[in-house]
């Protein structure tokens, strides 16, 4: 039989081993060799502080009393970790971006770096954690008691209390040593993390060993075990659905809200990707931890004497079978569970207490602005943390003494859980809903917490301890509707469910209503946006503008918090980033914001903000300015938008003007060209007339010459007249003032007239009219049409380049219209010239051969348009071909024509 002293020795050796591991890890981390310290598996194992002595001992007791219900405590966290993509990823990212040091810091930072909220959450966390720490002390002392009894000593209350004191002191020593070494919480407690990872392995191995011993040693393997479960006192599957679902929810929420879980999940997280491994490895750990709970409970109920405490089956069962080694291992497992939880919980709580209660008080005490500069903040913080660790453990011990250590472990655990989940609405609202405000959070937290204290916490001390039996039965002052376990007279509900329901209901509703009805401060809104949009935002906090502080002031202050080496390194890095050779950077807004984040990593967001605010002399909180600036920016933006619209409009107008200008210019050019053409055309005959008339006036000329000169003058005068006629004609046609005289006539007659009128020398142009010999009646202004024909025939006579000029006149139908083609045997007209032949004064090639002014075709075109027909150049013929499309004949006119055509 192992003596009790041997057990103490083993426990001390184990503690020494943990010290050594933690110390070695710190040494390696300090030398930068601790790569393996940041493995995902270490992170996963550190999460196992969720499994406390409550799990290790209490789960079996829970199972012995309520069957499978214990498993809900592990199903909830499994759901949270498996759903890491929803919440945990976001929490870890926010924690890294905002340098969050604790759950109180998260809430405070989110709601405008509020000191009030930090204080509220800290107080709540300390009160809710106290029963839990008491629970750990109780379980460790009870396990000592078991061994003491086995060794033949009888432990009474005195010995139990003495053991509890020593355990608390030992834990306090360990936590102070490894938990307050680094001030910057984001620098992580490598020693502690590695120690709890080792403890995680020990407790898993211990529980699995006991489980295997029970299933294959005390029972007959897995199948026989199932049969035994079915035959055991807890064989009935009569699970209350509401309790099952509520406990899964409660444990899931507590997993997120427990300060110690937040510490290992978010603060100690070295790499976001570790979540990926933990997402399946941690549920696996939980599964293995709960796998043998039911078998141990079932076998314990069978083997152990009636009345044995099922909470200690894990220990007493191997002991009763004489398995000393296994019992010792089991003892170490329970010891590990308790100590790792207490260590991390006290670190987390002491960080919260020092950052959110001690430091703000200390800063307020130093009323002069120089308080930051005169005191050594660093020592204050470290001292505050050490005292807080002691204080938290002392509270736990006090609760342990007060509650008498008699209540079932599981019940205390659930009460504690219900307390911490009061943070859930503010936390979830804070990271998913931008509309959540500080007022709402304060209302929700205080109301929910008050209900919890009244309905769950105070009754947990037991009847008569704090609340008298009469208050429990009849309510305070006889107000029965305020009975702690039957609010509003609703009785018969499970007390935990009852308290959880009312506290969370009130909490959530007040949080919501307070948020909806209040108006957030600018800093709250900025922080809200940063938290909710953490995956979109760059890590830029609210900027500090107009800083009155010098870099020296800031350096002195941060040295007091972060230590000289670290702060100087930060300042030098910032200076290097700004491209300065100096070690002191310029106090730019971004530098101050970055420094605030660094400080927040040590003393929490609210304190860091307040410290910077003190140094920058009231010019600090410029967030209101920022908002004003944002409004201003919006206005400027709108104004610039309007300007842009206007300028686009102006550009359109300008473009229209430019186009109009181009048109006008081209019109003006055309007019100029027209005028110069006209002048030129009028001048040429005028010059001849003037010079010949001068000669005639001088007299003394032979009559023959006189006659010749008079002939020339006459011809030129005729040409002038013709030109003026043409111009007049064109002007009349273009202005649409022409009156048409409709007549009947035969096309052939018209052609006769035209050929005669063209008046060319007979034989100069042979005209072949065989294609237009059939009789075709026309009804139009024959004189005008004749004018077009004359023009075309004259042109052919003038311009046809063939040695024997010949003009074919062809009459046929195209698309139901009568057309007359005038085709000569010349060269035709080059493509570029075809565009301009119908323009005024356009003459191709040698103008000397032309008798006219180049108005003929322009006039013909105008005439044909007026008559409702057309004249066009037809390319790709043997020679030059003009096609005259005759005006369409109205049906009645066509009939008349047909009648009159019959002789």
């Amino acid at each position: 039989m192992m003596s009790f002293n041997q057990l103490i020795a083993i426990a001390l050796a184990y503690v020494a081993f943990l010290f050594f591991v933690a110390f070695a890890a710190e040494r390696r981390a300090a030398r930068g060799q601790g790569g393996w310290l940041r493995l995902p598996i270490v992170y996963t194992l550190s999460l196992s502080i969720y499994c406390t002595a409550w799990t290790f001992y209490g789960a079996v007791g829970y199972a012995a009393r309520s069957g499978l219900e214990f498993v809900t405590i592990y199903l909830g966290p499994t759901l949270v970790v498996v759903g890491w993509w929803w919440v945990l990823r976001r929490l870890v990212r926010i924690g890294r971006m905002q340098r969050i040091t604790s759950i109180a810091d998260l809430i405070s930072s989110r709601f405008g770096k509020s000191t009030t909220l930090g204080v509220i959450v800290t107080i709540m966390a300390v009160i809710a954690a106290t029963p839990y720490i008491a629970l750990q002390l109780q379980s460790v002392t009870q396990s000592f008691q078991v061994f003491a009894r086995a060794g033949g000593q009888d432990w009474g209350d005195v010995e139990l209390n003495r053991a509890a004191v020593w355990i608390a002191i030992g834990l306090c020593f360990f936590t102070v040593l490894f938990g307050t070494r680094n001030l910057d919480a984001n620098e992580r407690h490598h020693g502690v993390v590695i120690a709890i990872a080792v403890e995680a392995v020990v407790k898993l191995v211990a529980l699995l060993a006991v489980g295997i011993f029970v299933v294959w040693g005390l029972s007959d393997g897995a199948v026989a075990m199932l049969a035994e479960i079915e035959a055991s006192p807890i064989a009935d599957w009569t699970q209350s659905g509401s309790r099952w679902a509520a406990l899964i929810f409660l444990s899931a929420a507590a997993f997120l809200c427990l300060p110690r879980m937040f510490q290992v999940l978010v603060v100690e997280n070295a790499d976001e990707r570790h979540l990926q491994t933990a997402s399946w490895a941690f549920p696996l750990y939980l599964l293995l931890m709960s796998l043998f709970v039911i078998p141990i409970a079932v076998v314990g109920l069978r083997v152990m004497p009636v009345g044995a405490n099922p909470d200690l089956f894990v220990l007493t069962l191997p002991l009763s079978q004489g398995q000393q080694g296994l019992a010792t291992l089991s003892f170490l497992g329970g010891f590990s569970s308790a100590t790792s939880m207490v260590i991390v919980a006290t670190i987390a709580l002491s960080t919260m207490v020092s950052n959110h209660i001690v430091l703000p008080l200390w800063m307020r005490a130093g009323t002069t602005p120089g308080a930051i500069m005169s005191g050594d903040v660093r020592q204050v913080v470290v001292l505050a943390r050490r005292l807080s660790i002691g204080g938290v453990l002392a509270l736990g011990y006090l609760y342990f003494r007060l509650s008498g250590g008699g209540a079932a472990l599981a019940a205390i655990g659930l009460v504690s859980f219900s307390g911490v989940v009061q943070v859930l609405p503010a936390m979830m609202g804070g990271i998913f809903w931008r509309g959540a405000t500080r007022t709402g959070a304060i209302l929700g937290l205080t109301s929910g917490f008050s209900v919890w204290v009244w309905c769950l916490f105070l009754p947990s001390f037991g009847e008569g301890a704090i609340l008298s039996a009469s208050v429990l039965a009849n309510g305070p002052f006889g107000l029965t509707w305020l009975r702690p376990e039957a609010l509003f007279g609703i009785t018969g509900v499970d007390p935990v469910l009852h308290g959880l329901f009312w506290s969370l209901l009130l909490n959530t509703w007040l949080f919501f209503a307070g948020s909806v009805l209040s108006f957030p401060k600018p800093l709250e809104r900025l922080q809200g946006a940063q938290f909710v949009n953490v995956f979109d935002h760059s890590p830029s906090g609210p900027a500090w503008t107009r800083s009155a502080a010098t870099a020296e002031d800031l350096l002195i202050m941060s040295q007091r918090i972060l230590g000289a080496t670290h702060s100087q390194a930060i300042f030098a890095r910032a200076a290097a980033r700004q491209g300065k050779a100096d070690t002191l950077p310029d106090v730019t807004p971004s530098f101050v914001a970055g420094l605030e984040r660094e400080l927040a990593g040590s003393v929490g967001a609210a304190t860091a903000h307040a410290m910077i605010a003190q140094l920058t002399q009231g010019a600090a909180v410029t967030v209101d300015d920022l908002i004003a600036l944002a409004d201003e920016t919006a206005q400027i933006l709108e104004y610039s938008n309007r300007l842009q619209t206007k300028s686009a409009e102006q550009e359109r107008t300008a473009r229209a003007l430019r186009e109009a200008n181009v048109k006008l210019m081209s019109l003006s050019e055309q007019k100029d060209a027209f005028l110069s053409q006209i002048s030129h055309e009028l001048r040429t005959p005028m010059t001849s007339i003037r010079s010949f008339s001068d000669i005639l006036r001088m007299g003394n000329i032979e009559p023959r010459d006189t006659a010749r000169m008079a002939g020339i003058i006459n011809a030129e005068a005729l040409r002038l007249t013709r030109l003026l006629d043409d111009l007049l004609d064109l002007s009349v046609l273009e202005n649409g003032q022409v009156t048409l005289h409709m007549q009947h006539g035969l096309l052939s007659d018209l052609l006769d007239r035209a050929v005669d009128a063209a008046g060319h020398a007979p034989g100069a142009l042979r005209i072949d009219r065989s294609g237009a010999s059939h009789p075709l009646w026309l009804e139009t202004d024959l004189d005008r049409l004749c004018q077009v024909f004359i023009n075309l025939i004259a042109n052919a006579a003038k311009y046809c380049s063939a040695p024997v000029p010949e003009l074919r006149v062809l009459c046929h139908h195209i698309n139901g219209r009568q057309v007359v083609d005038f085709i000569d045997n010349g060269r035709g007209i080059a493509a570029p010239d075809r565009e301009v032949i119908f323009e005024k004064f356009s003459r191709l090639g040698d103008s000397s051969r032309a008798g006219g002014a180049g108005l003929g075709l322009a006039i013909s075109k105008e005439i044909m348009t007026r008559l409702g027909g057309d004249v066009a150049y037809v390319p790709d013929q043997a020679g030059t071909c003009f096609r005259v499309t005759l005006p369409a004949i109205a049906p009645s006119a066509a009939k008349e024509v047909a009648v009159s055509a019959t002789p």
Partner: protein, 103 residues
């Protein structure tokens, strides 16, 4: 059949490779993996609420062994699924980040 020039067996006629209509397959798969990761806790909740639906006849007792087997098997299935998804998932893949725009 031998190729007359090289003396090597003729290659089988190559099947025409139809170009995929869908380009960014990889980032699409990543987005769906994220959807799957989001659904895992829902799946877990459904699995563990099922035993509450079990009906018991009057006077019938037992059922604990079945409940234990069911709860733990479901747990194992969930762990395996989570592990499979977590191994494939690339949380930092910015190409797969879609604020609700990409389908």
């Amino acid at each position: 059949m031998m190729c007359p020039v090289t003396g090597l067996p003729d290659l089988p006629p190559r099947l025409p490779v139809k170009p995929s209509l869908f380009l960014a397959r990889d980032s699409y798969r990543q987005r769906r993996l994220r959807d799957a990761a989001r659904m895992l806790p829902v799946l877990g909740a459904v699995i563990w609420l099922v035993p509450l639906l079990w009906q018991r006849g009057p006077g019938q007792t037992g059922g604990m062994a079945a409940a234990v087997v069911f709860v733990f098997s479901g747990w194992m299935v969930l762990i395996v699924l989570t592990a499979l998804i977590a191994r494939k998932l690339r949380p930092d893949d910015s190409a797969a980040i879609d604020p609700g725009t990409a389908p």
